[in-house]
């Protein structure tokens, strides 16, 4: 039994979701996206039309197993290259605003 018949069209609350995604939208963007994304949500719910009972979800193009390697130290990027693009740095560290409790 498909879900689409039973489930009403979901309403997306763009302001709420944008906050989850750490995006600070302007009022204009919020209202524009609200309309556009509501349309898109209304379209993508098409996937619920199919009966997928017993179908396994496909997360990857190739059969994936948990890939392990020996726990041995290897060379990585140098500290200098890692800090190359840092907006703010000091003493081999990235500088960020203080975390306010």
């Amino acid at each position: 039994m498909s879900q689409a018949g039973q489930r009403a069209v979901d309403r997306i609350d763009v302001a709420y979701v944008a906050n989850l995604a750490r995006l600070k939208l302007s009022a204009d963007e919020t209202s524009m996206f609200q309309n556009q994304l509501q349309d898109i949500v209304g379209y993508v719910r098409k996937v619920m039309e199919l009966d997928v009972t017993g179908v396994e979800p496909m997360a990857h193009g190739v059969p994936m197993q948990n890939v392990l390697r020996r726990d041995e130290a290897r060379d990585g990027l140098t500290i200098e290259s890692v800090l190359l693009n840092a907006p703010a740095k000091r003493d081999d560290q990235f500088v960020v605003p203080k975390i306010v409790e």
């Binding site: 997306i12 600070k24 556009q36 898109i40 496909m58 990235f94 960020v96």
Partner: protein, 484 residues
């Protein structure tokens, strides 16, 4: 002194380089001349370091004089601005990465570099590969070289435009939902999306990790085979790569298609598609039949669900992959009273509209209360889409289809209707969802002269099959892709 080097294919240039009839520096100088005179109008490149290009060329010429034998020694390649090349900018056409310099080579780049290739120029794209027209670049618009009022396609529009306008001999693109095949089709060049797992994604700025693939955009099928062979292979840095022997993909090339069975999926000749596109593709099918192929009708019944499935899965993965752009370690930073405020201000200032739209949609479909209905459902439908191809490939070696329902459209025509834009991807998306390989080869032009591509789809890891079909077809077309 050779002229018109820029108009040759990569394999032709390599022959000249190997036989000493030209130098890499001459090739690069020709490209730079072409770029200087044309790119103002085309906009294929977002950045180009001319001095560095010549230095690389000189080093390659020196290496060759000293006995260097790399398969691509001295060949300049343009790179979509989404792939890390050590010491070069990598902006993903986004303000959020303006000024970023790559500290390392992507594996695919390292493999090309090992064979002596040069990396000349960073090509324009839709921001973070999100788009189908290159109109979502934060920096500039790229124009279709065939008609500058038209889009080059996307998201690898810069790479396709560079190759089509002879501002590059060959280029790299990436394809998540069609972003190599569609711009290749719109610009009249060859574009190959390898099977998922063929080419390492290490060093490719991730958009959708279960869909992204790097691939060549070039002038002919032989070039595509060559670049594929160099770039592919298992990589410890990307656990999704497969352990398959690297072969000579051009070994099976033949002028005919005797013994080859090709499938025509009825769902891909969609209502409302441009009749000129349909005609060109059906003519191409007839050509393949004349070359000895058997043509059968096939069905991919879940095609109509592919756009919906894709825009759930790809945006969900993108929302996770783009979380790293927060102003902390690299890229643009806007100040904030605390880190979270900094993230919000940075991302607001740094991301363009389409990127924000997709992050929001992706966050939504993964969020509590919606995950099962959207994301999990989409993952299951994906299994059905893949199974459709599995059944069809039991009956034929490859599938022939259009690449897109239309040829290139006017710049600005679709920017205000995201959903309409998304629906244009219906014919390319399924291959990414299924993980199979696909290629676009030029097969005609519209009455207005805009290129039309023939899409050739093959089973996973059967690039040889689609390359063989593409080669024979291209040969019979008398090198249609060459605008001389």
């Amino acid at each position: 002194m050779m002229t018109d080097l820029a108009k040759l294919t990569a394999h032709e240039v390599l022959d000249l380089l190997k036989s000493g009839r030209c130098s890499s520096e001459e090739v690069v100088n020709e490209l730079l001349t072409a770029i200087r005179s044309n790119d103002q109008q085309i906009g294929a490149y977002v950045s180009l370091d001319e001095e560095d290009a010549i230095a690389q060329a000189r080093a390659a010429d020196k290496a060759r004089a000293e006995g260097g034998k790399g398969r691509l020694l001295g060949l300049p390649i343009a790179v979509k601005d989404v792939l890390n090349v050590s010491g070069q900018p990598c902006t993903c056409a986004s303000k959020i990465l303006r000024g970023y310099i790559s500290p390392y080579d992507a594996t695919a780049i390292a493999k090309l570099r090992k064979e002596g290739a040069l990396f000349v120029g960073r090509t324009n794209m839709d921001e973070f590969a999100m788009g189908s027209s290159t109109e979502n670049s934060a920096f500039k618009v790229t124009r279709n070289p065939v008609n500058r009022d038209y889009v080059p396609g996307g998201s690898s529009g810069g790479s396709a435009a560079a190759v089509a306008s002879k501002e590059a001999i060959a280029a790299l693109g990436t394809d998540t939902g069609g972003s190599i095949r569609q711009p290749a089709s719109f610009c009249g060049c060859v574009g190959l999306k390898p099977s998922y797992g063929r080419i390492s994604r290490y060093g490719l700025t991730a958009f959708a990790s279960s869909l992204d693939q790097i691939g060549p955009i070039c002038s002919d099928v032989r070039d595509a085979a060559l670049l594929l062979d160099v770039m592919c292979g298992k990589d410890a840095m990307d656990s999704t790569t497969v352990d398959l022997p690297v072969t000579d993909s051009a070994a099976g090339f033949s002028d005919d298609l005797k013994g080859v069975t090709l499938g025509l999926p009825k769902e891909y000749f969609i209502e409302g598609m441009d009749p000129e596109v349909e005609k060109a593709v059906r003519n191409a099918v007839r050509t393949c039949k004349d070359l000895g192929a058997e043509i059968i009708d096939v069905s991919l019944p879940h095609t109509e669900y592919s756009v919906a499935t894709y825009y759930i899965i790809a945006t969900a993965e993108a929302s996770a992959n783009l979380a790293r752009f927060d102003g902390v370690r690299y890229g643009h930073r806007e100040d904030g009273i605390d880190p979270i405020d900094m993230y919000c201000n940075t991302r607001q200032a740094g991301f363009g509209r389409e990127v924000k739209r997709r992050i929001i949609l992706g966050t939504y479909v993964l969020s509590s209360g919606y995950y099962d209905a959207y994301y999990l459902s989409a993952q299951k439908v994906r299994t059905l889409i893949r199974a459709d191809f599995g059944s069809v490939f039991k009956r034929c070696h490859a599938i022939l289809a259009p690449v897109a329902p239309t040829a290139a459209y006017r710049i600005g025509e679709k920017v205000n209707d995201p959903l309409q834009m998304y629906l244009g991807d219906i014919l390319t998306i399924p291959a990414n969802l299924a993980g199979i390989c696909g290629m676009s080869v030029p097969c005609g032009v519209t009455g207005k002269g805009l290129p039309i591509g023939l899409q050739i789809l093959g089973a996973a890891f059967k690039e040889e099959d689609i390359l063989r079909v593409g080669y024979a077809f291209e040969r019979s077309m008398g090198q249609f892709s060459r605008n001389s």
